[in-house]
Symmetry: C2
Subunit: 195 residues, 2 copies
């Protein structure tokens, strides 16, 4: 059931040289714009920044989600890959889970509007949601399972629910100035409540 998300890198199948160039330019431009304007920055801005036309951006990334996924793929994969390592290197699975969640929160909080986009019901973001779930839920699940088995974490909460909640808790942090709200702490509280 899990889709294959590989092969979208510019250097993949042999397209025309200009196509590869433009795809890379778009990735760079998007990454830059996402930082300042958030993941739902105007498409035109990204195209302009990359020095390409509207058609080009939609040809390479039919959905906004495709672009976002391409930009953050490496970080997401890295996050997914961290889970087994964390599990192996720590004696306490619950602590490993907590640490992984912290990394997850870090990731979301540093991407303007990403958390919001993930929960958005905008059809254009559906694939984004799917990708994140496909990659991160299994990673989270392995940690959660270990924590449940070895420790005193309640077993009636699945990884999907946990990630949904944690993701939600990260919303509104990127935005605006310092309100005393700390997503890390809230997620920590949530996990504490799961014992």
């Amino acid at each position: 059931m899990s889709k294959v998300y590989g092969g979208a890198t510019p250097s993949s199948t042999h397209k025309r040289a200009d196509a590869r160039r433009n795809e890379q330019a778009l990735l760079d431009a998007a990454a830059a714009v996402f930082v300042t304007r958030g993941v739902d920055a105007p498409v035109r801005d990204i195209a302009a920044r990359a020095g390409v036309g509207m058609g080009t951006i939609y040809r390479h990334f039919p959905t906004r989600a495709d672009l976002v996924v391409a930009v953050y793929r490496h970080q997401v994969e890295a996050l997914a890959g961290t889970a087994p390592r964390l599990l192996a290197s720590m004696e306490n699975p619950t602590a490993a889970l907590g640490q992984w969640m912290d990394q997850f929160v870090d990731f979301l909080v540093t991407k303007h509007g990403l958390a919001s986009a993930l929960r958005s019901d905008d059809s254009g973001f559906a694939a984004l949601h799917a990708y994140f779930l496909d990659r991160l839920v299994p990673a989270c699940a392995s940690l959660l399972k270990a924590a449940v088995q070895a420790d005193d974490i309640r077993r009636d909460i699945d990884a999907l629910t946990l990630m949904h909640a944690a993701g939600n808790l990260c919303i509104g942090v990127e935005t605006g100035a310092d309100t005393g709200y700390d997503a890390h702490r809230m997620v920590g509280l949530l996990i504490s409540g799961m014992r």
Copy 2:
């Protein structure tokens, strides 16, 4: 510092009869549209439903937040008013807090997109955010304070933070079909984690 939010009811200061009529029509129309299309339904739809022009809606409710606040004012006030009663009628303040939070969650979950709108950084929703905070944070704070004093709730979390987190946990529930996600349970977990 807390603003006065009264006097926006159609029957308030003596405007012209048609103005009152239109304001009421807009409130009714908005309430109806919010149920089906959510709080960020197209302004035109609301105006059309009320049988008025674009100008009229913006004259009566300059900001979308004004309209939303007007529509939900009664329920918000009721929710705020529940806090003292709950505190008086229950022996356990922590249970009272939990019950009040449940009502808060109920309120948010039954309003499509309200939770999302509350966390939105859209400038048009800033006043909405402010109103909810002004009304509900003190109510929550009274319960929280009692729970802290009488029970074993940690004291390093203020009402604002708690409501922010709880509000976030309600996001994405209104949307779409039944994903096993249950905002009530998540908020319950969060409160459990606060001991």
